[in-house]
Symmetry: C2
Subunit: 347 residues, 2 copies
DNA sequence: CACGTTGTGAGGTACGTACCTCATGACTTA
DNA sequence: TAAGTCATGAGGTACGTACCTCACAACGTG
């Protein structure tokens, strides 16, 4: 029987004593208020590092009579996955309040970089400590992220990343790996070779671009016998996706596989069923939502790759707490797993 | 752009005002100290319910100058899954300290009900608010759980449940569903029928018993052509499991499938490889650990059903916080998902 | 040398809850 | 009716941090 114990946490008083300064000075350093010589500040920093002081977030929030304010910015519209993300936020919001976290959701026009940038511009550090956005990779969004960061609103990206920006953290699956997995499965599904079409929502979305890259890489490396058609952009909408799939089926009577790495899956399933060729074409889609679930059950879709929205929201909230604790990055967060669903293991 | 906001939380002062009593009385009710007439207590309870007061856990712990003390009791020994559970606890422990949660781990002799009961008996409310145990279904454990609960140590079960006890919560997968999934897969793997053997660790473990029930149900309902051998208990040990599998292979030259619903998978793989019949028998095992991972990669194991240990520990800690908030049960906790791993989607 | 500026210390109050003491009034019981 | 018990109120201190005011000393500048 082996016991692993712990000890008392260091407080600001301990820091003051260790640094040989007063409590007020420690406070000034911690909350970067003016009036401290840089030599003194360094002494304090050293003491903090030495005794391993970490600010008590709850006491800090209590003293400020203030909650941590988190704003989720999530695309609006018909995209079912985004709706389930928003639902997951909603579900977590009340219990997060118990930990002094106040959560707000903004819904914005999907695939509208200007609208997303405007939402970010509207956030001020008084009302919002941290914004969590589903990013699209455009200059205006990048500028808005960096501007928000500079005025004191931390930004995290969710589902789709924005590398090169000042975003503090990305929460989501490894989309390159997801694309590779799709290729690996479709390749095995089509051992005799054939034509394979890819549909994306928008290649301005980093997650879609990453999936496409992973898909292409794995296909070229492992299944050179497959002929790739596309990618074609369906803008994550049902009607456009349906039209694209219908066109594909008409133009390629010998189409053997289909990978929709974006949304609009209701259209995908509808076009397949109308063509009468459902179940004769191997199909992989993303996100376990109502349309993909029905597709799995009817057999129109073979495999669904899923990122767990509840898990993502949970990690996003945990990461925001972690970020609030220290400006010093170095955040460990469990990566979100890629769920693989067939008809037989629907949850 | 749609906004979902929140409001100020109610405090003890609000409760006092609403109930028309003093702060002291509210405090007596909240912390069930003596000296309150039941009529008055009811007035306070009513006020709490009406204004939706919820005690501020952080402030409460701060005032007590005390952390929430959590004790995990996890089987020791060679079981790799239990080791990874303990590892997950270890990883969470430091970051949990930021939320005033102090986590301790006890390792006990596996499959030793008396040792588990003794560990529980050694926990006192001063040192431990909540114990999280991997239960085995025996009278002495049940008695120890109920006794701990009665003296003020909440108990939660992890991985393997103990229904009928005063345990406050179970954290784990739906093991009946896991067993059904195994049967559904094996049945599809053996369309021509044949012999199918089942190995368990111990049927005193509720999770093992549940898996067996689910497995049998699904098999009888969907695949009556399969002949079931066992279950045979391998006590989750490598040597015993290896011997059992070797015996099974010798006695049944026509064995078509194998389901190990317990641990000891290193023995399972070793026996299969030695027999030269690996890859000709469809095999399903539990928990993604080093031996099962190797089994998947070599092809000796076809499918691994997995419960995510990190996810389970995270949920256990979250549930403990939730329980500490209110004696009034009604706890929502996300169910742990059953992960399905083949060689192609190893993480 | 009087003056302002700057760095630092001392100490207080507040946040929401826990826990303590003391006072007071109502009611019981002999 | 005096003594005792019980229910309740009033008010304080503490937890760790934030944020405020005031005091004071060191320093330069004119």
């Amino acid at each position: 029987m082996n016991k692993i114990g712990v000890h008392r946490r260091a407080t600001v008083h301990d820091v003051a004593r260790a640094a040989g300064v007063s409590l007020a000075t420690v406070d000034r350093v911690l909350n970067n208020r003016p009036g401290v010589r840089s030599a003194t500040a360094e002494k304090v920093e050293a003491a903090i590092a030495e005794i391993g002081f970490q600010r008590d977030l709850s006491a800090s929030l209590l003293a400020r009579a203030r909650n941590l304010a988190l704003t989720f910015v999530i695309p609006d519209g018909t995209n079912e996955f985004m709706a389930s993300l928003a639902g997951a936020v909603e579900r977590r919001a009340s219990q997060a309040l118990n930990d002094r976290m106040q959560i707000q959701t903004l819904r914005v026009q999907p695939l509208d970089a200007a609208a997303l940038a405007r939402s970010l511009d509207g956030l001020h550090p008084r009302n919002c400590d941290c914004a969590v956005i589903v990013a699209s990779e455009e200059a205006s969004v990048l500028a808005a992220v960096d501007s928000a960061t500079r005025r004191g609103v931390m930004v995290m990206t969710l589902v789709s990343d924005l590398p090169g920006s000042l975003r503090r953290q990305f929460i989501g699956i490894d989309n390159v790996a997801a694309g590779r997995t799709a290729a690996s499965l479709l390749g095995r599904f089509m051992p005799q070779g054939g034509k394979l079409a890819v549909i994306a929502g928008s290649l301005h979305l980093r997650d879609h671009a990453d999936r496409l890259n992973g898909f292409r890489q794995a296909l070229e490396a492992e299944f050179p016998q497959l002929e790739l058609i596309g990618p074609i952009e369906g803008h994550d909408e049902r009607p456009q996706t349906e039209a694209i799939v219908a066109d594909l089926l008409r133009m390629h009577p010998d189409l053997g596989g289909l990978y929709n790495l974006g949304a609009g899956n209701a259209g995908l399933v509808a076009a397949l069923e109308k063509s009468g060729r459902a179940r004769r074409i191997r199909v992989i889609a993303h996100e376990l939502t109502e349309p993909t679930r029905q597709g799995l059950e009817s057999g129109a879709i073979d495999v669904v790759l899923d990122q767990n929205p509840d898990g993502e929201i949970r990690e996003a909230i945990a990461a925001a707490r972690g970020l609030a604790l220290g400006a010093n990055g170095a955040l460990v967060s469990n990566p979100i797993e890629i769920g693989i669903f067939l008809r037989d293991n629907l949850r």
